[in-house]
């Protein structure tokens, strides 16, 4: 039989890295094919080759049995390949219609943009595949789930028959992810072939028809969901057994480390995002903040770390008032921060890994003597962390933006764990990480807790919260509406609370 797409012997080398090593990959028409693999396994690279963003060093690509040469996205688009990138390729200040038609504009009277016809076509596509989007809305006003929908419509608008989705669910809340799966199934039913990259094994079983696993740039194998289990897939990816549940002793809470009283914070649009939140985190415990994304968690974390001013309330760490203190002062109080948006707050992409690993300690001993940086010390420190945290990079002098998404995250985690801390604020710490790395970071979080660090964990993954937190605070519309003991919290109760339903109706 002929496949919709066949990639044979694809090899891609980056300086010091063999990102793809003779990869064979085949996609059947109308299937959802899941591509799994560790961080840095080469998934995005393979897809970027297919979309014409990278040129393979070796290998051939066949579409419907015919060999094709794809040397630019224009070629890929022409051949019916569409891609939704790991980082969205949308222009925030433009409308949905403008973003979708960009590059394949419709004109009237010879040269005038025809927004109406474009909007009409977008509505037709929306209708055909159940992808509701408002063509006249601005991207910047849309939640991520809808932005992603726009990306999919963008591909369909170009009549893509092969759709690449690179970690589409990393930024989605569970409800949005379910909507996406419905859409994917509908698309597959109508004959589109889909390549779906994810790190969440549960999702694989929810949508995949077939699964291909990559490791270290090579194909480990292709299988079907019926022939696999979560742990067998995890083992294929990582090359060893992975323990998917976190094992930990009961917490031994000590003194209060972080105390937040009646905190009020505005969001970017000036409306009240955190509206009188109060809670405390004790040494040696993990407080998990659960809640549907967009209920003020982002603003809360930014306020606690000094990235956003507060308008009322008090934050103190170990009894010291740090309300509206600078990020450096807060960090010097012994606070570590794993930010939600790693590109914006977590790293400097153009700096080498080594420098990124000392971003908040470079001015101190042993990295600096007076105003002079000690590069030997910085390099040694970097190699140590790279090994300890298994950051996949050929050199500590590689610019951080060249690391794969998951390895960028590990780099940030490594930096924050590499100095003595009292309080750890972790926002979505495992977003985009493979199961092996999640296991590792979860272990480190529990270890930190056992050493007496107070941990504030904000996560959109209810599973993560339930398996790590000692107490769970539910955030809804900027307020902490309930705090539960983790041993007594049930999924169903938490779900209701996250939707704003409190049992006593108060």
């Amino acid at each position: 039989m002929t496949f919709a797409l066949e990639m044979r012997g694809i090899t891609k080398r980056f300086p010091g890295v063999l990102a793809n090593d003779h990869i064979d990959f085949a996609l059947e028409t109308g299937e959802i094919h899941c591509l799994l693999g560790e961080n840095g396994a080469g998934k995005s690279t393979l897809m970027n080759i297919l979309y014409g963003l990278y040129r393979p060093d070796e290998g051939h690509i066949f579409l419907d049995g015919r060999e094709v040469h794809i040397s630019s996205p224009t070629d890929a688009i022409r051949l019916g390949i569409g891609m939704v990138h790991q980082h969205f390729m949308l222009i925030p200040v433009m409308t949905v219609a403008e973003n979708i038609m960009l590059g394949t504009e419709i004109v009237k009277n010879g040269f005038v943009l025809d927004q109406d016809t474009a909007a009409q076509r977008i509505r037709e596509i929306s209708h055909q595949y159940g992808l509701e989007v408002d063509p006249s809305a601005y991207i910047k006003d849309l939640p991520v789930g809808l932005q992603q929908r726009v990306e999919i419509v963008k591909a369909l608008y170009r009549q893509a028959s092969i759709l690449i989705l690179d970690e589409p669910t990393a930024v989605l809340i569970p409800q949005e992810a379910d909507d996406l799966f419905t859409i994917m199934r509908e698309l597959a039913k109508q004959g589109k072939s889909i390549i779906f990259i994810t790190h969440k094994l549960g999702e694989v079983f929810a949508v995949a028809d077939r699964i291909t696993v990559l490791r270290n740039g090579r194909v480990v194998g292709t299988t079907r969901p019926s022939d696999a289990t979560q742990s067998s897939l995890a083992a294929m990816m990582v090359g060893r057994e992975v323990i998917l549940t976190v094992d930990r002793r009961p917490a031994q809470p000590g003194d209060i480390v972080l105390e937040v009283r009646d905190l009020k914070v505005l969001d970017d649009r000036g409306s009240m995002a955190v509206n009188g939140a109060s809670f405390e985190v004790r040494a040696g415990e993990v407080l998990g903040i659960a809640g549907v994304q967009g209920n003020g968690q982002t603003e809360l974390v930014e306020a606690l770390t000094g990235l956003r001013p507060t308008i009322a309330g008090r934050v103190s760490i170990d009894g010291v008032d740090v309300t509206n203190a600078s990020p450096r002062r807060i960090s010097e109080q012994g606070v570590a921060h794993i930010p939600e948006d790693r590109h914006e707050h977590g790293m400097v992409g153009s700096y080498p890994v080594a420098d990124n690993l000392v971003l908040n300690t470079y001015y101190r001993q042993p990295f600096a003597r007076g105003a002079i940086l000690d590069h030997r010390a910085i390099e040694e420190h970097a190699w140590r962390l790279v090994h300890e945290f298994d950051i996949r990079t050929p050199s500590v002098y590689m610019p951080a933006s060249n690391l794969s998404g998951g390895n960028q995250q590990k780099m940030i985690v490594a930096r924050e764990f590499s100095r003595p801390i009292k309080l750890l604020i972790a926002a979505q710490p495992t977003r985009g990480l493979d199961v092996g790395s999640i296991e590792f970071i979860h272990k480190r979080l529990v270890q930190a807790r056992d050493q007496g660090v107070a941990v504030l964990l904000v996560s959109a993954e209810l599973d993560e919260i339930m398996s790590l937190a000692d107490r769970i605070a539910v955030m809804y519309k900027g307020q902490i509406i309930a705090t539960l003991d983790a041993t007594q919290a049930e999924r169903a109760t938490l779900g209701l609370l996250m939707a704003g339903v409190t049992s006593h109706g108060a």
Binding site: Y54, H85, L90, M94, V107, D268
Partner: protein
């Protein structure tokens, strides 16, 4: 894809100083200055006479108003606008209206103050403003065209200066003004090509490249003047003709003066402003240009040639700046002087920022600067006893406040000034 994220609000902080509040404070301070100055130094009997065109005499059509009371009224109005903006946190749209009407009152107040005990011809003032705004407008358009595709161009001054020199030289030696104009346009384009090569191809910092262009232009134009213009073998080629002179349009009262008594570069600017706006916001080319300015990688992934878009825009922008250069040597002065562009290329960038990278807003900014220039000339002629330097400075103060991000919500294209490398 490890695209570096492009963001123009790196901290994500919510400002306490909002646009409306900044604006309110600014107008409030202005109102206080106007009131204090009026009450302390003006004479209560002074009258301002505002004429409507000299050609209508006799009888002169004149508006005579008492200076002090009208200035007090304007001061109070400004105060009301200021307070409203400060306290009521109006919407974006209302804020724009407040900004516009406030600016109008400021202009009106300046005129009335200038005409105290004298008479000022309003129609002539408008005409001079438009004329003097022309090079600023053309430079502003050049700036918008470049920055909308993310190439910062502070070399507009240099492009205009080179064009003024080359244009004049060619028109002198060929004795043909229109060949001179063509040469001016082309030389602006050549300078812009250099800027494009440096910034787009060789990834030189845009500010450094622009500075080089400016320095180079001083050298080139100085050389041209010394080598070809000082010992000029021919008679001066004269100035561009008035387009509508001799037609009935020229003589229409008031309207004729305001609309039809200009030379060609004025009309070029007035046509190009809406044209550039239209291309930017209503055509595929403009959509692509703006996309490249906001998120070049996103444009690349839908098959747009980022480099081509940038080259074409920057080079065309240089040609437009060339028209601005011709305004100096071929339309206004009639010969070439060293540094004759007199920083208008930088003021053009201020107008661009004032207009928030939109040609229409930028044109309004250019007119405001042109008006300030015209008023300054009038003050000097009338020997007005007001701190006219202060009034002349107003547009620049306004721009500085705008650039500082308080008054205008100035948001440059997100990728402005950033190099683009293909992966």
């Amino acid at each position: 894809m490890n695209a570096e994220t492009i963001h123009n609000n790196p901290t994500g902080r919510k400002r306490f100083v909002t646009r409306a509040r900044g604006l309110g404070l600014f107008y409030l301070i202005l109102a206080i200055i106007v009131l204090v100055w009026t009450l302390s130094s003006g004479s209560p009997q002074a009258l301002s006479r505002l004429g409507l065109g000299i050609i209508l005499q006799p009888p002169p059509v004149r508006l005579t108003i008492p200076t002090q009371p009208s200035l007090i009224a304007i001061g109070l109005l400004l105060g009301v606008i200021g307070l409203y903006a400060l306290l009521r946190s109006p919407s974006e749209r209302t804020t724009n209206v407040l900004l516009g009407s406030g600016a109008l009152f400021v202009v009106l107040g300046a005129i009335i103050a200038a005409a105290a005990d004298k008479s000022i011809d309003l129609v002539g003032l408008v005409k001079d403003s438009v004329r003097l705004a022309t090079p600023i407008m053309l430079g502003m358009l050049a700036g918008v065209m470049c920055e909308r595709c993310a190439v910062i161009n502070i070399g507009i001054e240099g492009m205009m200066l080179t064009a003024a020199a080359v244009g004049y030289m060619v028109s002198l030696y060929t004795q043909n003004m229109w060949l001179g104009l063509l040469a001016a346009v082309l030389s602006g384009g050549v300078m812009a090509t250099l800027h494009a090569l440096l910034t787009i191809q060789f990834l030189v910092d845009h500010i450094i490249s622009g500075t080089c262009i400016n320095i180079l232009a001083v050298g080139i134009s100085g050389y041209i003047r010394a080598a070809f213009l000082l010992k000029n073998p021919f008679g001066a080629p004269g100035l561009f003709p008035y387009v509508f002179q001799g037609t009935p349009l020229w003589d229409i009262p008031i309207i004729g003066t305001i609309l039809f008594q200009y030379q060609p570069m004025v009309y070029a600017a007035l046509v190009l402003v809406p044209l550039v706006w239209f291309v930017l916001f209503r055509t595929p080319w403009g959509l692509r240009t703006r996309a490249v300015g906001e998120h070049p990688r996103a444009a690349d992934t839908v098959g747009i040639n980022v480099f081509k878009i940038r080259y074409v825009n920057v080079i065309l922008a240089g040609c437009v700046a060339g028209l601005g250069g011709a305004w100096f040597s071929l339309e206004t002065v009639g010969h070439f002087d060293d540094l004759m562009t007199n920083n208008r290329g930088f003021i053009a960038l201020a107008a661009m920022i004032f207009g928030n990278w939109n040609p229409l807003g930028g044109a309004a900014g250019a007119l405001l600067f042109g008006f300030a220039d015209a008023l300054n000339f009038k003050f000097q002629i009338l020997e007005v006893n007001v701190p006219y330097q202060f009034i002349g400075m107003l547009p620049f103060i306004l721009t500085m406040v705008a650039v500082a991000g308080v008054i205008g919500r100035t948001t440059p294209p997100a990728a402005d000034g950033q190099p683009y490398r293909k992966q």
